[in-house]
Symmetry: C2
Subunit: 117 residues, 2 copies
DNA sequence: ACTCCAGATCGACCGCCATCTATATCCGAG
DNA sequence: CTCGGATATAGATGGCGGTCGATCTGGAGT
């Protein structure tokens, strides 16, 4: 990304004749944008937003068997959404006996939250 | 969503023998989750994150001809990303003569930002 | 050891998304 | 009114994502 650029190639406009202000650049760099986009993608589904919401309210105390009936979805689908959140680093899981408990990992959402402000 | 549920059907566990705390519910309702997920989906691409970032830094002063060379993408692709952001309500556009200027609509990101906190 | 159950994984299906090239639209200049 | 340049749209294509049913895994209780 972030190419050479002078101004639009094939343009006969001379320097100073730009359509707008001097050249602009993003403040966030490519890598940071990639990280934040990954977190945003993980939250790009209403089910996952609600999952994160539930887990934030009951951190470490919710097992999957209680999450599944909250949605009109099959158990494998809910499990899939939890996996997406886990792979994005947003939640973690712990197995206690038969059951699996999920919790929000604090701080992973922070970068995106800070940038959005 | 938010089904009846007693506890897991087919389970012989009696009341009180739940695997965890009493039934939990998300705090954000379905509609709110859908809205926030839509915003998140619009931000689920590094290019769009950087576009929003540039526009926030130079609100109303950036024309498309200046955005395109920031990325290794064709002009139609950048135009497509801007359209996605526009349809999500995150940015607006104004045509001045030959050029189109984009700007961030303040407040649309606010709901998501507030929830993330 | 056998069985049952919670949860994860697999494979398939289908729709959506990012990207490109080609083309259309729109506007200002001459 | 025609020409050229700046954006937008259209159409095609390849890949990713959400969902399901079926199956695998592993811990508990008998």
């Amino acid at each position: 990304m972030a190419v050479d650029l002078e101004f639009s190639p094939k343009t006969k406009r001379a320097a100073g004749e730009r359509c707008c202000e001097p050249v602009v650049y993003p403040d966030v760099q490519r890598e940071q944008a990639v990280r934040m986009a990954a977190v945003a993608r993980a939250l790009a589904d209403p089910v996952r937003v609600q999952l994160v919401d539930v887990l934030r309210l009951h951190a470490g105390k919710v097992c999957v068997c209680e999450l599944v009936p909250l949605f009109d979805l099959s158990q494998p689908t809910v499990s899939h959404h939890l996996k997406v959140l886990r792979e994005a680093g947003i939640v973690g899981s712990e197995r206690r006996g038969l059951w699996a408990y999920y919790f929000v990992i604090p701080g992973v959402l922070a970068e995106l939250a800070a940038w959005l402000q």
